[in-house]
């Protein structure tokens, strides 16, 4: 694993993984781009179809692999493209907060935000705020792991999905 080079001597640069839903928050991040609203480069966005797809393990994996903070973005309550996936995300978020506390990880390292597709400015604001929060908290200092790719199929045999329609041979 190569350490992420830091421009100049700015000291600790937080690494933040953001899980954004396709319909609201990811689109808002696109809008922030279109409107050239610069924000902290520390935030790395991973697209999910819905915040409801957020498996708590994604958050834990992010911390384990060196994230100092994790951001979850979904549609505002009542606005979910899939009706209520964001409520499921909220449940898991609250659970995760407790879990993190148990593990000695500061709760503030995980944040859930509702950002609609038109709120590009909010993406900017949240990204900057959250980066500052994490900067203040300092590095998480979980032991860094080598980022080796765990390879599919041949490397790690796992149960194959049953034959299903719509999959090419």
């Amino acid at each position: 694993m190569s350490e992420r080079p830091v421009a100049g001597d700015k000291g600790f640069e937080p690494r933040i993984v953001a899980f954004f839903c396709n319909w609201c928050t990811y689109t808002a991040a696109d809008l922030a781009g279109t409107a050239r609203m610069a924000y902290a480069p520390n935030v790395r966005i991973i697209r999910l179809m819905c915040s409801g797809r957020l498996d708590p393990q994604f958050v834990l994996a992010a911390f384990r692999h060196g994230a100092d903070g994790v951001l979850i973005g979904g549609c505002h309550p009542g606005d979910c493209h899939y009706q209520e996936g964001n409520y499921k995300a909220l449940r898991r978020y609250l659970l995760l907060k407790r879990l993190l506390r148990e593990m000695g990880i500061e709760e503030e390292r995980l944040r859930l935000v509702w950002i609609s597709a038109s709120e590009g400015d909010r993406v900017q604001k949240v990204a900057n705020e959250f980066t500052e929060t994490i900067r203040r908290l300092g590095p998480l200092r979980l032991a860094p792991r080598p980022g080796m790719i765990r390879l599919p199929a041949a490397a790690q045999p796992e149960p194959q999905p049953a034959a299903r329609e719509g999959v090419l041979p």
Binding site: G147, R150, P161, G166
Partner: protein, 667 residues
């Protein structure tokens, strides 16, 4: 373990393509460095850069490489997947590869456009490319699902946009349901007398289209009706429409209007909604003479029978066709459509919110829409511009940008007010010979023939004073001002505060979203922009589409728009809807969830989570079963499955874990 040990046959062969997007990306991100970095990533066979990857030569580069280097995975680092994911998937398909062996990296919207420091931008781009390369290894070949599409379209809103969209589709042979909330179609345009800049009469353009709608065999017109529920998805929407009772049987009424004459109220005495309260109507009425459908309705709020239960019901006797039915109930209709066009229009800004302009306080302060009714030949005054006290105004002031371009209310320009103010100035001057003053911030007259119209008004001797009006007052300080309304304004061209006494003030109110736009967008599962207008999928590439496939936008519900633009957009929305339903099927993204049967423990956790009831329990095998046709691919069940049996195509755990590790570590 090294890659070649795991994959004796060489493993996946990945091509990485980094787009410059002109200077959009290359101006910030060191593209060369990203390419060189990509070459060091495992399984990457080729990595290239190009000015515009989405262009034909760019796509050809990918196709050639796929064939030549036998690539089976492609990563393109360029713009947002919402823009060009489909483009590159198609390129893969054309090269004979499965289109889902593809991952897009958003290094424009999410990197170059939002990062100040080029070094940081380049590092972020590298991390995202690393993540995508790791992710794409785990991609699987997939096939799009084909779903049949209903051959019918719902158009919501019967203003000019909805009418035009409905007629276009109906003429193409498709069945259209046109649902309008008001008792008649026509919308705001039906209220206008003339249209700018040609000054052709609104009714002459609109009413023939309205009657075409009523007569068209392919259009089911439901006025006085509202959509109350929308279910389903692109190609297969199930919609429930509430048809409010008009207490008149639509099929029987021929619009002879004898019932109105017969009403026990000898005089019309209730404020008439269509004339914005400037005229009066009876409890049984027709909104305006050309109303479509030409069917009367009874307003239960004002009808004596509904209020007291005692009335001679003279209307009932007068109707030769027995069309009046006091017992009529609301009806709920259920329809199935393949596409939906929203053309729900706008409302005008409530001028009471600016108390200093005196609307609602001084009777001679009017909104522009009210003046539209006053100058209208079929309006309450028969087209004569008369004040409430019957006088004909000698001096008229038109105040622009009321509620628009104002930090306190709406920052945006409502686009139509300058032009309709010019039109009203012309009409008022023509009808009354009054001196007309326009108070403007900037004149905005872009459009075919618009600037010429402005010139014409200047020639006609209409006065233009540049400055935002401070207040409208009746406090006279000179004898000239007695009995008049005084407009106080800083004339920014003269550099002095002026007081202009007038008899009539016209407020050029801006356009706002409908008050229930938020409820409507929730019902249709679409988004609103900040101001509350419906959000288009992309301002340039998909201006009439929404983020929900199969739902399109037309007219001012998407943003302030004049008639030509509304009609143009309605035509575009109709064409999009036609393209969708005419094909007979729609291809859906194969991002559905599925169950790995061997892993399912039958705990049923997923079943209650699915918002679409797509998961059922197979009692015989004691496992969950997902109905792919119902699954919309949110992945909520996948995230909840404790045994990892529920999975999602295109968003497999393995893929996302790789992405997480990738953004955090380069290799």
């Amino acid at each position: 373990m090294r890659a070649h040990e795991i994959y004796p046959n060489g493993g996946p062969r990945i091509g990485v393509y980094v787009c410059h997007c002109g200077f959009n990306i290359a101006g910030k991100v060191n593209v060369r460095e990203v390419v060189e970095f990509a070459k060091t990533l495992p399984f990457v066979v080729v990595a290239r850069e190009y000015k515009f990857m989405c262009s034909d030569p760019g796509q050809e580069m990918i196709r050639e490489d796929v064939r030549e280097h036998r690539l089976d995975r492609v990563v393109v680092a360029a713009c947002s997947p919402s823009l060009h994911e489909a483009t590159f998937r198609r390129a893969l398909e054309q090269a004979g590869q499965n289109p889902f062996f593809f991952q897009m990296v958003n290094i424009r919207e999410h990197v170059s456009w939002v990062t100040e420091d080029p070094r940081e931008a380049t590092e972020k781009a590298k991390a995202l490319v690393a993540a995508a390369v790791r992710r794409v290894i785990f991609h699987e070949p997939l096939q799009r699902r084909r779903v049949p599409v209903k051959d019918r379209v719902l158009v919501v809103g019967g203003g000019i946009a909805g009418i035009h969209a409905a007629l276009t589709l109906a003429d193409a042979g498709k069945h259209v349901y046109l649902v309008e909330r008001e008792p008649t179609i026509g919308g705001h345009m039906a209220m206008f007398d003339k249209t700018f800049p040609t000054l052709d009469c609104a009714a002459c353009i609109l009413t023939p289209k309205m009657s075409q709608v009523a007569a068209h065999p392919n259009i089911t017109l439901w006025t006085y009706s509202e959509v109350i529920q929308v279910e389903g998805f692109v190609g297969n929407f199930r919609v429930r429409v509430r048809r409010k009772p008009r207490y008149v049987i639509e099929e029987l009424c021929v619009g002879c209007l004898q019932c109105i004459d017969a009403c026990v109220y000898k005089d019309a005495r209730f404020p008439d909604e269509f004339n914005l309260g400037l005229g009066k109507r009876k409890p049984i009425y027709i909104p305006f003479p050309q109303a479509t459908p030409r069917v009367v309705l009874i307003d239960p709020e004002t009808c004596i029978w509904f209020k007291t239960g005692k009335c001679k019901q003279t209307c009932l006797e007068a109707c030769e066709r027995a069309a009046i039915d006091f017992k009529q109930q609301e009806r709920i209709e259920e329809i199935e459509v393949g596409a939906i066009i929203l053309a729900t229009g706008f409302k005008t800004f409530d001028a009471r919110r600016i108390p200093e302009y005196g609307y609602g306080k001084y009777p001679n302060v009017y909104t522009a829409l009210e003046v539209e009714r006053l100058v209208n030949a079929s309006g309450p005054t028969g087209g004569e511009v008369r004040l409430r006290d019957g006088r004909i105004p000698k001096r008229v002031g038109i105040i622009h940008c009321v509620g628009s371009r104002d930090e306190r209310f709406n920052r945006y320009c409502s686009r139509v007010c300058c032009m309709y103010s010019l039109k009203l100035a012309h009409l008022i001057k023509e009808r009354t010979g009054a001196e007309v003053y326009n108070f403007y911030i900037d004149m905005r007259t872009p459009g075919k023939g618009y600037e010429e119209f402005y010139d014409r008004l200047l020639q006609e001797g209409v006065h233009f004073i540049r400055g935002r009006v401070a207040e409208v007052t009746d406090w006279a300080i000179t004898p000239d001002e007695e009995g008049k309304l005084i407009i106080r304004v800083e004339d920014t061209l003269v550099g002095a505060v002026r007081r202009i006494p007038v008899d009539m003030v016209v407020l050029a109110v801006g356009l706002e979203p409908q008050p229930d736009a938020d409820e409507v967008r929730r019902m249709f599962n679409i988004s609103c922009s900040k101001e509350g207008f419906f959000l288009e999928r992309h301002p340039k590439l998909a201006p009439v589409s929404t983020f929900t496939d199969g739902i399109f936008l037309a007219g001012a519900c998407q943003g302030p728009k004049d008639i030509p633009d509304s009609v143009a957009q309605a035509g575009a929305a109709a064409a999009e809807a036609l393209a969708l339903i005419d094909k007979g099927f729609v291809e859906l993204e194969p991002n559905t969830a599925y169950i790995v049967e061997a892993l399912c423990s039958g705990c049923k956790t997923c079943i209650g989570l699915c918002p679409y009831n797509a998961i059922s329990f197979d009692e015989a095998r004691m496992i969950a079963v997902i109905n792919e046709a119902l699954c919309k691919g949110c992945g909520t069940c996948v995230a909840a499955c404790p045994s990892g049996a529920a999975r999602q195509h295109l968003f497999e755990d393995a893929q996302i874990f790789q992405e997480i590790e990738g953004v955090l570590a380069y290799v």
